[in-house]
Amino acid sequence: MLYVVMAYLWASILLYVLMGGADFGAGILEFLSTRKSKDQTRRVMYRAIGPIWEANHMWLIIAIVILFVGFPVIYATVSVYLHIPLTIMLLGIVARGTAFSFRNYDAVKDKMQVVYSKTFMYSSVITPLFLGIIAGSAVSGKIDPQATHFLDAYIFSWLGFFPVSVGIFTATICGFLAAVFIIGETKTETERQRFIQKARHMSLAAIAAAVLVLAAAHADNIPLAHWLFGNPVSIACVVLAAVSLIWMWVSLFRGSTRWLRIIAGAQITLLLVAITYEHYPVLINLKDTEGLSLLIHKGSDKTIHALAVALLAGSIFILPALFYLLYSFNRQEEPVAD
């Protein structure tokens, strides 16, 4: 049953990156759009993510609940040493979620719209940036439980070249995912071309950010290359991701977008597999000591069992309903909120 729980944890992290990521990315695209095209971007984007955006963010809650029920020591350690970036991320989530729905549901459309939009855009950049920083610091072994000084314990645990570049990488990935997702939702050829353009730009940005991550890993003495090329599975993932990147580029330039979403999703999945495979079963690396392993720092057997049953039972309700939701609104013309 432990493996069921770990699978759910992994899957909810992946789904949060994919679906939540596309959602954050929509805000990033809006942020990067020229003033003229902002309105248009916003409209297409709203049509694409409106009905599912609440559900997109549930994956984070699922992941957190799995952590604190199933792996309490890991949850507690992360909460202590990454308190500051977690808090900033939370503030971002709050600002973003409320601004998005206030913008839509405010009965009077006036200057407040500008406030909502600004808040939405800035928090759409900040939140994935800090998500990435948290992920980067969790894998990089910067957390130091032995630290006695405030700065070492609570600041340098996350504020470093490597975590920050992972943050930037995450933000660019989100923008890219959003563009790819929205291409499939566009209604006119001009809209479609615009988002293809954005997808190209964002993929370039993501590649640049990936280079930055490699440089940072080198500078910070983090064996990133070893994680990516240290075992056959990771190598296979990286190679596949690279091949599909070329395929994706060809499609993007040809303007054929049929497989785009699948390719983009696959790339992120491969990347996550490559990194987690090498780290497994460790979820959080610590400085100078053994990392926190999912196999060791787990809750009691009964708890894990009950958690697994709850997750499996929950999926029976959730997955069909979620697919039906995605399916119904994909077929339809213009979902307009009431």
Binding site: I62, V78, S79, H83
Partner: protein, 436 residues
Amino acid sequence: MDDFIAARSQMALSLGFHIIFSCIGMIMPFFMAVSHFKWLKTGNIVYRNVTRAWSRGVAIFFATGAVSGTVLSFELGLLWPEFMKHAGPIFGMPFSLEGTAFFIEAIALGFYLYGWNKFNKWFHWFTGVIVGVSGLASGILVVAANAWMNSPAGFDYVNGQYLNIDPIAAMFNDAWFSQALHMILAALTATGFAVAGVHALMILKRKHIQFHTKAFRIAAVFACAGAILQPLSGDISAKDVAKRQPVKLAAMEAHFKTEEKAALILGGIPDEKNDTVHYALKIPGALSFLAHGNFKTSVTGLDAFPKDVHPPVAITHYAFQVMVGLGMLMLLIAVFYFFTLWRKRSWLEKRWLLKLFTIAIPVGFIAVEAGWTVTEVGRQPWIIYGIMRTRDAVTPMPGIVYSFYIFTAVYVSLSVIVMLLLYRQVKMVGKLYDVA
């Protein structure tokens, strides 16, 4: 302010903020479903307009409830890591089920808000009911988690170790039923009075009378039904507390000395130094009766416990008085309203009746906040009653004060904006919803 106090205040602030949105999230979908049902049955367009107006309101509240809830699930660790390290696997069961309930709620809400004229009309209506049912389910579950903190169960505590963990037994602890029942009725009463009051206010202003009257009638009936049941459920809660947390009961009642025929103390200023209450009205024997169902039975007082496990008596006592006092007020309004419906239908048009409901807008929510203050402050100094002290659970990170200031600023501004949005929503009824 020291960091420990800051952490407690931040937790209290976040929960106190979240509870308002969760009450509305649990109850409004049912109001909507009733009005929606009437529209589908009678074809009276006003009901459709009421449903749509309410659903927009709910969307605003839902988003705010969802993000404040997300904050809470992190805050448990950010502020109380030592607590979560041990408690997570024990009381986590309701949270993992709650995840499912939230998910279903979010999906159903997607269908409901975006599904007008797109699906079979009864399927669409049904998704609205699902929103309500899953909201209620998550409310019950999370209260069961809180009940565990009041009445720990499902493990053996041996030499500081938590052994033989049974998460199912932990979920069905002694307090879950009385607390969950009381909470749901509280949500019903508070949301009902707030909604009915807002519509009453608009009728008083002679705006879109038809629209607001229909909305008022639906909310008022629910509110009043809740208000009548609430004291009964409160009595169950009180008897329950007397059994499992006698020290909390003693603090609620400012009952310092163990005695038979214990008096019920109304009002007064508790003096924790001298263990007495000044200027109070005492009803002999009444406390014995309320706590144990017999006027003679002895009621344990604060003197039976060492000082270091006394909760803050004054706050608990005041909060309890406020809750019960407002509960009685709403009970009176409710009885009066049902009498009007039954015998004096002509009063329904009277301005003073509407004014009464307008005054009651915030009353239910004040009672909810007071009630939670009783439960949570009355549990101090324990975070897990009798097992772990709150002080031992707090995060080692210094500087929580700043985090408290930031969250206070955020919650204050969100409250202001939500009020503004609601005001605009109501103001625009004419333009947006009162069209045939």
